[in-house]
């Protein structure tokens, strides 16, 4: 379909090899590269975990044209599920991992079902309320969640006898899980189901007239996207080895919108680019002694003005010769409750 999309697959393979090898100490192989220290490994692992959650948001917003303001809350549900099941009940890692995703999927269905009954932006508002509620729950129910003190010493799993406690091993584990989840997403989007809501995004009226049940597709997309938030949370908890309510508040949820937009909404790799901007830039800026938020905000405002379709959108535009027809259907036009063009999707009210 586009130049960029044709190169996605080979680029992915090269990127994977680089990602696996880059943080390791390669001096043993005769390459003068000592790899990353603990901090570098932590940041690059955090980037992948964030990208998984962002993939979920991309599915909901970039492909299914819905809005979510609660991805950090789902991350929280996943992280607390993981932390509680492993620290208090001693449940094996992968069982807890599946439980985290499943719980978020079910909550997603329960939350999306009534919200999708009403108008377009109301899923955004309902998720906003939900995000605040989850955060309050985690803060206040100390008997279960540890309240503001959080949960300490979340264990890193032992997988087939391999201890993932060392940072490099855990990074490889996160990378492996990321690849698996990305592959599942890739497959989902290419399945008849995935094609259905790509059709839905491109032309909702036509999709509906072809007999696609718009509402249940949107609901499923929301639930699956939320489950990705849960999976990310289940990796986040053992990565940080400690969780508290702060990263799961409303603010971080809004942050995911930012990453999705800056990366490139509706591009498969958009979440990875967006997460890189959202995680790595603030880390680099941390040594500016508190000026980081201002610099970051200015960077974002400039990026949005120069590349409103995100970094990947900009690259695609630069790579594509100027014969682009002026169509507005490549990306959903709706943000969190904001729209500049009245879309017919808004009529999904019955």
């Amino acid at each position: 379909m586009s130049t960029l999309k044709r190169y996605q697959f080979p680029a992915l393979i090269i990127a994977l090899i680089l990602l696996a090898a880059m943080p390791a100490d390669l001096t043993g192989l005769g390459i003068p590269w000592t790899g990353f220290k603990r901090y570098g490994l932590y940041i690059i692992s955090l980037w992948l975990v964030t990208a998984i959650a962002a993939m979920g948001v991309n599915l909901i917003m970039g492909y299914a044209g819905q809005e979510t303001l609660a991805q950090a809350a789902f991350l929280g549900i996943g992280a607390y599920t993981m932390a509680l099941l492993t620290t208090k009940l001693g449940v094996p890692y992968f069982v807890a991992f599946a439980a985290a995703g499943a719980l978020c999927f079910v909550v997603g269905i329960l939350l999306g079902f009534p919200a999708l009954r009403v108008q377009k932006h109301y899923l955004a508002f309902v998720t906003l309320a939900f995000a605040v509620f989850v955060w309050l729950f985690i803060r206040n129910e100390q008997w279960l969640t540890g309240g503001v003190f959080g949960i300490q010493d979340v264990p890193r799993p032992v997988i087939f006898g391999i201890k993932t406690r060392p940072p490099l091993v855990f990074y490889w584990f996160v990378l492996f899980m990321t690849v698996v989840l990305a592959a599942v997403m890739w497959w989902l989007l290419r399945s008849p189901w995935g094609r259905a809501f790509t059709a839905l995004r491109e032309n909702p009226v036509r999709a509906e007239s072809l007999g696609i049940d718009v509402r249940s597709y949107k609901l499923l997309a929301f639930a699956v996207g939320s489950a990705y938030g849960g999976f990310a949370g289940a990796l986040y908890a053992p990565l940080v080895e400690f969780i508290d309510p702060a990263p799961f508040a409303l603010g971080p949820s809004l942050y995911y919108l930012l990453m999705i937009l800056v990366g490139g909404m509706g591009y498969f790799l958009g979440p990875f680019v967006g997460a890189a901007v959202g995680v790595l830039i603030p880390e680099w800026l941390r040594f500016t002694e508190g000026l980081a938020p201002i610099i970051f905000a200015v960077i974002v405002m400039i990026m949005v003005a120069l590349a409103p379709r995100g970094i990947l959108g900009l690259i695609e535009q630069l790579l594509t010769p100027k014969r682009r027809p002026h169509s507005d259907v490549t990306g959903p036009t709706l943000g969190a409750g904001a729209t500049l063009t009245k879309s017919s999707a808004e009529k999904v009210t019955s």
Binding site: K37, R38, Y39, G40, Y42, I43, L46, R139, N140, Q142, G147, V148, F149, G150, Q152, V240, F242, D244, A246, P247, P282, E283, R286, F287, E289, G290, A292, P293
Partner: protein, 382 residues
């Protein structure tokens, strides 16, 4: 033209590195300061930063510590424990001699294991009781933990206020909830009934419902454990609704900032104060003057905590006789720093094997828009 500009930039770079090199040499010790510079803890972090900067400038002006100058590197935690952990992790990768901060107890809580594992002393500002109870041999307080201050408050409520019932108002974060969890058993131990147990939000602006509830509890005294601004807003609302029962608090209720913000609503508030720039002590008065002259505003207890941290390091290194993280930590355990020998420490203090501090503290009252020290409580183990 292009080459010219390239040459110019290249030359400038070479020159810059050349000039920068001597400063990077061996006689400078880098101390990472991982503190709250943005987010909810920004006011606290700014105070600490100012205090510690002033102390390091003084130390360097007098030749540094064992002939080495100190250079601080400030890293922002964004008031988020996860980010604080990443910051400390990064600092530890460079094998520092010591780490300063964080100040928020939650952030200290998630980093203390890292410094303990890496065997690097961590001089921090957290006050939550459990921090020093986790067996780290590398964690040091700059102020009382709630494990020390809360029993003093409870005793004061019993003997000084003669309260039989107390309403507890706290802030729902690690600071406030930690204090609440520490004081309630202390009150019960002394036969004082807790008439109300009210949680409030950090950053809360409107305290009307909370004051209504406090009034309804009709306790003999109200224990207010909020940070400064929230304290001020609570006091303003309490005055508005005509609360007459004694309002008792800790350092954060009686600070100059609260008095400035709440004005006459702060009048008559009493409590226990660990560190205060109002202490009747020539060294503290001198510090207060220097700080105000340098930064244009007065220091609070967090500024004092930040100011003491480099001097704690100095005393420990000098006792150890060498720059070595393990030796510094070992030297600080059981060390008494006397202001007669090290004026920068301001108050005579002793650090025990847990890193807890013992020093004098004060009972104070707000009178005529000023904090007045009513009584000086001596060190527990003089």
């Amino acid at each position: 033209m292009k080459i010219d500009r390239f040459g110019f930039v290249f030359g400038a770079l070479v020159l810059a590195t050349g000039v920068a090199m001597p400063a990077m040499a061996q006689d400078v010790i880098k101390i990472p300061n991982i503190i709250e510079l943005s987010g909810g803890g920004a006011p606290v972090g700014q105070m600490w930063k100012n205090g510690s900067t002033m102390a390091v400038e003084e130390i360097n002006a007098k030749g540094g510590i064992l002939g080495k100058k100190i250079q601080m590197e400030f890293v922002d935690t964004a008031s988020d424990p996860g980010k604080a952990r990443a910051g400390v992790q990064r600092a530890l990768d460079d094998k520092p001699m010591a780490i300063f901060g964080p100040i928020y107890s939650g952030s200290v809580n998630v980093t203390l294991k890292l410094t303990n594992e890496a065997e690097v002393p961590q001089i921090m500002g957290g006050e939550a009781a459990p921090l020093t109870a986790q067996g780290s041999k590398y964690l040091f307080r700059t102020s009382f933990g709630q494990n020390v201050s809360m029993p003093k408050i409870a005793q004061y409520l019993k003997d000084g206020v003669k309260a039989q019932t107390v309403a507890v108002v706290y802030q729902n974060n690690d600071f406030g909830k930690g204090g609440r969890n520490a004081i309630i058993p202390e009150l019960e131990k002394r036969g004082i009934k807790v008439a109300a147990d009210l949680s409030t939000e950090p950053g809360q602006a409107d305290f009307a419902p909370d004051v209504v509830k406090v009034k309804a509890a009709n306790a003999d005294a109200i224990f207010v454990y909020l940070t400064e601004e929230e304290s001020a807003r609570f006091l303003i609302e309490a005055k508005k609704q005509g609360v007459t029962k004694p309002l008792i608090g800790e350092t954060t209720l009686l600070g100059q900032k609260v008095i400035d913000l709440a004005k006459d609503a702060a009048e008559g508030v009493k409590g226990h104060v660990g560190l205060t720039a109002d202490a009747d002590n020539p060294l503290v008065k001198d510090y207060d003057k220097k700080f105000t002259a340098k930064y244009g505003h007065r220091s609070d207890h967090n500024g004092m905590k930040g100011y003491m941290a480099p001097y704690m390091l100095k005393a420990a290194v000098e006792k150890a006789g060498k720059w070595d993280p393990k030796a510094i930590a070992a030297a600080l355990h059981g060390l008494t720093i006397d202001p007669a020998k090290e004026p920068g420490i301001l108050l005579n203090g002793t650090w025990d094997e847990n890193g807890d501090i013992d020093r004098e503290s004060y009972l104070a009252e707000v009178k005529g828009g000023k904090q007045v020290i009513v009584q000086t409580l001596p060190k527990l183990k003089p």
